[in-house]
Amino acid sequence: MTSKRCMLFVQSLLVACLSLLIVVPATAQEESNKEVNVKEIVFDHIFDSYEWHVTEWGGHPVAVPLPVIVKGEKSGWHLFLSSKLHKGHEYQGFYIASEGDYKGKIVEKNDQNVAVRPLDISITKNTFSLLLASFVLVLIMLSVTQFYKKNTFKKAPGGFVGMVEVIILTIYEDVVIKCVGKDYKRYAPYLLTVFFFVLLNNLMGLIPFFPGGANVTGNIAITLVLSICTFIAINVFGTKEYWKEILWPEVPVWMKVPIPMMPVLELVGIFTKPFALTIRLMANIMAGHAAVLGLTSLVFVTVRMGPAINASMTIGSVLFCIFMSFIELLVAFIQAYVFTMLSAVFIGLSRVEPHHKENTIE
């Protein structure tokens, strides 16, 4: 055990030294240009972008262009690569706004020469990552299914299939069955899909290079859609008792008759549940990304403070980054688990059966 720990320490030290070698010349070059703006780096990452910026190479950005799909107010649908809009270029009347409300978004000029947003369903960085994750998820699950179809009871699942099965059963038995209650079978596919969807997107967000690293589950649009789905699952299939408890809860009559205080509170509760889900997941993942980026930026920020501080901060930064990455690995699982569990609990609450008769007589 101790030797393993020692090895890990030596490895991380090595990584730190290597990164020193690589980073110092790069930052030296940058130093002459401008001060490092950590906030910009972090927010650039957290927000979406039209191209997938991979790295800078010899002063030129290396980026993967992604398709832009926009519908102008008059000009109709347009489809072109984002590389056409690079560095503020205008293409077919569209350009990326460098300031104002729509900073960083594709805009076009309308008749009054005011920048307005077209209908924009471009395959952005997040969209691309999302589609990739969806594709991978479907691929994984269908291949796992294929295994079961092929080897009915003949072979015990091992390796990757075994791992996926363990995760599926963990969620199914510990979360779905326990939290949803009687009708667990009906909700199991949805909850499992949500879990794996969030988990895979979280994990892909942790890969620091090209096909990964997008802040997908840290984007409110993603978490919003997920929690709207849960909202539908909760309220559309809610039992009569669930709605009765909301609209006519068992409290003293004065709390609900002239001014429907309790019903209003309960109705607000319907919306706070998915809202909490939305914000929790987004904030957790976004914060993780921001923390890792902030720690990495430490290397560049401290360049101006002299080599001694910079070197020590670099080592510290790398160590912290490793630590954060482990934490994020944990968080990726925990957040997927929590989202699924809360969804399951809320669904379970909406499947309430009428209370015992004694209560109503009292």
Partner: protein
């Protein structure tokens, strides 16, 4: 703040991709996997039960086999004992029979001897009688010249002869 402002494009793609993923997984993947896992569970449970039953049966069979073996062994012992006693009995019988046979043979031999002895004595006697008669004849021939004496002599001899036969 745009951090909390969902982007329309991303919303659209999210709804689309999540919808498709959910549709595919909920239709083709998870129900199949869960069903298979449940069936496998039932299968394993069944197999375990079957194995238990088979084991119990095997145990029973083993016990039965052992019983049969011990029984066979006991039987073997009794059969051996029986055989032993039978052997002794046969030997004894044979011995007795031989003894009896020998005795019988001895008896017949003895009887034969006795008979032959008697025959020999008889023959000797008859020879002796013939000799005696011959001698007596010669003696008498010399003495008996008258008829009277002759007759009385014959009568007396006849009587004696009668007596002798009567004794015999």
């Amino acid at each position: 703040m745009s951090l909390l402002q969902p982007e329309a494009g991303l919303l659209f793609w999210m709804v689309l991709s999540f919808g498709v993923v959910f549709f595919i997984l909920a239709k083709y993947a998870f129900p199949v996997i869960l069903k298979m896992v449940e069936e496998r569970k039932a299968y394993i449970d069944n197999s375990l039960k079957l194995a238990d039953e088979t084991n119990a049966q095997l145990e029973l069979l083993k016990a039965e086999g052992e019983k049969i073996i011990t029984k066979a062994r006991e039987e073997q012992v009794t059969i051996l004992n029986d055989a032993l006693s039978l052997k002794e009995q046969i030997i004894n019988e044979a011995r007795n029979e031989a003894k009896a046979e020998a005795a019988k043979q001895l008896d017949t031999v003895r009887k034969q001897i006795r008979k032959e002895q008697a025959d020999a004595i008889l023959e000797v006697r008859s020879q002796v009688a013939v000799l005696a008669v011959d001698i007596a004849e010669k003696v008498i021939r010399m003495q008996l010249n008258d008829k009277e004496k002759h007759m009385s002599m014959i009568n007396r001899l006849m009587d004696e002869g009668d007596k002798k036969t009567m004794i015999q």
